[in-house]
């Protein structure tokens, strides 16, 4: 009788062990990382390890790896790109695209070159009107393919403020195009192709006056 109890107990424990092991194996998911060429490497941290940057899993090219279900934080690195943390939650096999925007530092470094290209386009499109306007507060967005700025009247000052216009330009096939025409406010019903966060950023640009 005692022998039977022992055998049953061993079998039960073995079963529990097998089930636990299978569960552990099943908790790993296939995660396919598709990494943009601007990204030199990504570091994958468990969420609880991000503050002390402990035990990162590093990969530098697109590949599939196994990750246990849970919450992770991905930190991309690269010359041009923003290194903002990307939180992800792993619950199943999934493909994750790592394609961060360019960093503000990089976008600022190329801004003046872009403005040197855009200003002649505006002058060509609005030859007379642009005699009275200058570009201010220009900003590049996403990967530098979107540009927004203000057109301020050169005769505007504290005592005599003139209308200030906002405009948005897009680079397609390496050619910059002004979308629609400069307006006091850029609205989503008119600028349908422009991402909402870009419209909001341009609308919140303010004059120095």
């Amino acid at each position: 009788m005692k022998k039977k109890i022992i055998i049953i107990s061993i079998v039960a424990i073995a079963l529990i062990g097998i089930i636990a092991y299978i569960s552990y194996l099943l908790s790993f998911k296939d995660i396919s990382f598709v990494i943009n060429s601007d990204v030199s490497e990504i570091s994958i941290y468990k969420k609880e390890n991000i503050n002390n940057k402990k035990d990162p899993k590093k990969i530098s090219s697109s590949q599939t790896i196994k990750l246990q279900t849970g919450n992770y934080v991905i930190v991309p690195s690269g010359f041009k790109i923003s290194t903002d943390q990307i939180p992800v939650s792993i619950t199943k096999n999934v493909e994750i695209n790592i394609n961060p925007n360019y960093s503000n530092k990089y976008l600022l470094s190329v801004l003046s070159g872009v403005e040197n290209t855009i200003l002649p386009i505006l002058k060509e499109k609005y030859p007379e009107t642009m005699n009275n306007y200058k570009i201010t507060n220009g900003t590049l967005f996403i990967k530098g393919e979107w540009y927004g700025g203000l057109l301020e009247n050169i005769n505007s000052d504290h005592n005599s403020r003139k209308d200030m216009f906002r405009f948005v330009a897009y680079k397609e096939n390496n050619v910059w195009k002004i979308i629609n025409y400069p307006e006091l406010i850029l609205t989503k019903s008119v600028y349908k192709t422009v991402p909402m966060n870009i419209l909001n950023s341009i609308n919140s640009l303010t004059s120095n006056y």
């Binding site: 609005y126 009107t129 057109l151 005599s160 403020r161 003139k162 209308d163 200030m164 216009f165 405009f167 025409y181 400069p182 307006e183 006091l184 406010i185 850029l186 609205t187 989503k188 019903s189 008119v190 600028y191 909402m196 419209l199 909001n200 609308n203 919140s204 303010t206 004059s207």
Partner: protein, 210 residues
Amino acid sequence: MNNILYKIKPAYIIILFFIIVISVISFTIYQKVDQTGKIQISINLVPKDSKITIGNNQYTNGLNYIAPGEYKITVQKDGFETKKVVKKLIKDNDKVNISLIAQSEEAKKWAVINKAQYSDFENMVAKDTQEKGITFQQINPITKNLPFKNYLFSIGYKNDSSDKTGNSIIITISTSPQYRQSAISQIERWGYNLADYNYEFSGFNNPFKI
């Protein structure tokens, strides 16, 4: 009676059953086909048996189906003043609420006896208007702050006629060029997203619009 039932052959009962089932299915299909491309509207009339013509077709009090569009609507009944309106019926649950004023002596007597029909109608219209107001404000939360006026600028709104639902608005801003940006900043200070609305500035000509 029982004898007659016993005499009916079971085959006839089965045939009858199938005829009924096929009739019900055919009627349902006909209704579905007839309602395709139409919207459900609610017609509320007082008196309820008034004759209502929408476009070239006659309808009755209650739920009806109609192709979306703008219609000339005529409601008439002997002894009552005829009403003619033009209304856009473009989405499900649009309503046509019309009550007729009694003119003849007989009609006036009817109106007194059926006072409840008029008061129910008024309550229903009031409730409908209130609900419409809430929806409009939910879609255009900025209307809570409008009209707004200070010594530099005024901000109001008007319906955007290009939107057939009647729920879109155009923000109207009246001020001198010097304070247009201040008016725009006021909308931002209220916490609204500038890109969400369309605008009309008084006395403004965009020099870049060519």
